[in-house]
């Protein structure tokens, strides 16, 4: 789960990281009032959960409250990569001398958290990693010790920070690691961390990605989820304990298991079709869950055929078949369906579906070919 910039920075502030003064506005008038209260030039920043806000025109400077109100009016309601801007952050504008990148991520290879910094802030760290990896300084953090002061100093000197800033940089690095651990994050970054004209460090932009599996420990953070930023079908899927991602194709698919669901999408593509979604109904899915999943697939009007690929293990084919029947009664779809059931109770499952006007097969390849042909109107 991604947090907004303003949420991330407020969390950073709790861990002693200096952030600009500012507040969130949902109307131009509010934005103007915040700018008036700050009494300084401000930066108006759209709060949407995508990168590249600046390039899209979603971040702009305003010299006075009137201009802040006018610019907020332009940015609010703007569409950035398919997301509508509903909130702006109005921050005091920092006078910037230098931009730094500082972040903590979980490194899968070393099975530890790693802190990374680069003297080139403000750009995406992945870009720096690709173009000039030698500019990134990394330290591996022992989870039982946490980030040590010497490690923070190593990074500070590594990126060529002036000596008088090393102490405050180390405190920010320690705060960032504590924020990362304290929120069960999988990523926490300050980008950029700037050196101001007053020669102080300031976290101008921030980002936290939370580990969904850690949310049970943080009900306060779980509440920060912005449903506006999630496709409605994905929200509904989450509430049903399903894993759903909408795609652009027209062959809907329902599969048990994430790996098999991805493989099923790939096979659809291989045989000339395009998957409409990723959908994993999980292990041991019962009829009601299957019905919810089918409703979700069919709510996508691009769907021209549906492929069910169930490899029964813990999941029983007869349970899935019952769910399909329940959903069919309710939804009365008019798209062709292909079902492939293998594994636990497959005969019973196929018997249940015999009268449901679906194409049944035991071969994955054949199932995919049938579903692709059906989506083209060839079946």
């Amino acid at each position: 789960m991604k947090l907004h910039e303003f949420q991330s920075k407020r969390i950073f502030a709790r861990y002693g990281i200096p952030i600009p003064e500012g507040d969130v506005a949902t109307t131009p008038v509010e934005a103007g009032a915040i700018a008036a209260r700050l009494g300084k030039p401000v930066v108006i920043k759209s709060q949407v959960l995508v990168g590249g806000r600046g390039k899209a025109g979603g971040i702009k400077l305003a010299r006075d409250p009137a201009e802040a109100e006018r610019i907020a009016g332009q940015i609010l309601g703007m569409d950035i990569k398919g997301l509508k801007v509903k909130k702006v952050l109005v921050d005091e504008a920092a006078r910037i001398q230098k931009e730094i990148y500082l972040g903590v991520v979980v490194d899968r290879a070393t099975k530890r958290a790693v802190m990374m910094a680069s003297a080139e802030g403000g750009v995406e760290i992945e870009e720096v990693a690709r173009v000039s990896p030698e500019k990134i300084h990394k330290v591996s953090i022992n989870p039982f010790l946490g980030l040590q002061p010497f490690q923070a100093r190593e990074i500070a000197f590594g990126i060529g920070l002036e000596k008088d800033l090393v102490g405050s940089f180390a405190a920010i690095a320690q705060g960032l690691y504590k924020a990362f651990v304290g929120t069960d994050a999988s990523l926490a970054e300050i980008n950029p961390l700037v050196v101001t004209d007053e020669h102080k460090l300031l976290a101008v932009d921030g980002k936290i990605v939370l580990d969904d599996n850690g949310l049970f420990r943080h009900p306060d953070l779980a509440e920060m989820r912005d449903l506006d930023e999630e496709a409605p079908a994905e929200t509904e899927a989450r509430l049903h304990g399903l894993s759903y991602v909408k795609l652009d194709g027209n062959v809907g698919c329902m599969v048990n298991g994430a790996g098999l669901a991805m493989a099923t999408m790939d096979v659809i593509k291989l045989f000339g079709g395009a998957p409409a979604n990723f959908l994993d109904i999980g292990g041991g899915a019962k009829a009601d869950k299957v019905a919810a999943a089918l409703r979700m697939i069919l709510s996508d009007l691009n769907v021209k055929s549906v492929l069910f690929n169930i490899f029964g293990g813990i999941t029983r084919c007869d349970e899935v078949a019952k769910g399909i029947l329940t959903a069919l009664e309710e939804v009365k779809p008019n798209v062709p369906m292909v079902v492939r059931l293998v594994g636990t109770n497959e005969e019973e499952g196929r018997r249940l579906l015999a009268n449901a006007n679906m194409r049944a097969t035991t071969s994955l390849v054949e199932a995919a070919q049938l579903a692709v042909a059906a989506a083209r109107g060839e079946a």
Partner: protein, 288 residues
């Protein structure tokens, strides 16, 4: 003809009195796995699935000589269960549980570095040596004893591939599901080493997916250390970037972790790449 689990496996089930734990214990016993007991704190002295239940892993190990454990406890208690098994000297711990916080696994893996315990998982289907022992939740009947080692980050996708192998009459030495989480105990490289050193495994099937760079590291290892042929399938070629595809670890982030990169790296290392799961069996048959 196997790695990690076999007829000498003496299995302890942690969380045996739960619904999943008891159900799968019965299934594992029916397959022929030697299940020697289970644990469930506070239920020591009772019986479940026909085996004795103990309060602690230490007690169970002392009483039964268990050398392997499988964990079915909920995510918030699973890290503790792994540590308890390691502390009791269990050599192989298999954690089925899905949904463990990543930073908990960071700590667990750091601790395990200083023990001789090997962890498989979490968020995995377990492992099986066909005809000898099933330590997991996979449907046993689709497997067949043989000489192909299988290692995979996925569950049902592995069943799909194994089913295709068995249908072609190609048996498996051991099938290891290493799990779909970002931080896992046993990685592809660890499993490949085991298969390379197992005299009775003749070739290996690797089933990967988007996210992370474990497949790329495996490719490096294959190129430099493996003499046995490897066939691979990588799931997620049609997955969009930035979206988590079910598994916590299956996400393309910042342009890394794509199927295309993994396939390129494996191909470079001489690995044959199947275009779909069923084709894995065809490629393996050509080499056998």
């Amino acid at each position: 003809m196997s790695v990690l689990v076999n007829k000498q496996t003496r299995l302890l089930v942690q969380g045996i009195t739960g619904r999943e734990g008891e159900f799968h214990t019965l299934q594992m016993i029916a397959y022929g796995t030697k299940v020697v007991g289970g644990t469930s704190p506070g239920k020591g002295g009772e019986w479940a699935a026909g085996v004795p239940v103990f309060d602690t892993v230490k007690e169970a190990v002392n009483a039964t000589g268990a050398n392997t454990s499988i964990i079915y406890v909920p995510a918030r208690f699973a890290p503790d269960a792994i540590l308890e098994a390691a502390d009791a000297g269990i050599e192989l711990v298999v954690c089925i549980t899905e949904g463990i916080p990543v930073l908990d696994m960071v700590k667990v893996c750091e601790y395990l570095k200083h023990t001789s315990t090997r962890l498989i998982g979490p968020n995995c289907p377990g492992l099986i040596t066909p005809g000898e022992a099933k330590v997991g939740i996979m449907p046993g009947h689709i497997h067949m004893p043989g000489k192909v080692g299988v290692v995979s980050r996925s569950g049902t996708l592995t069943y799909e591939v194994v089913y295709a192998l068995t249908q072609k009459g190609i048996g498996q030495s051991t099938c290891i599901g290493i799990g779909g989480d970002p931080i896992i105990g046993t990685t592809f490289i660890d499993a490949l080493k085991l298969f390379q050193d197992d005299p009775l495994t003749e070739q290996v099937v690797l089933i990967g997916e988007i996210g992370g760079t474990d497949e790329e590291r495996a490719a490096e290892y294959i190129a430099t250390h493996m003499t046995k042929p490897v066939t691979a399938f990588i799931a997620g070629q049609t997955a969009p970037p930035g979206k988590r595809m079910g598994h916590a670890g299956a996400i393309i982030s910042g342009g890394t972790g794509t199927a295309a990169e993994k396939i390129a790296a494996l191909r470079e290392a001489g690995v044959r790449i199947a275009r779909h799961p069923v084709e894995v069996a065809d490629l393996v048959a050509e080499t056998a």
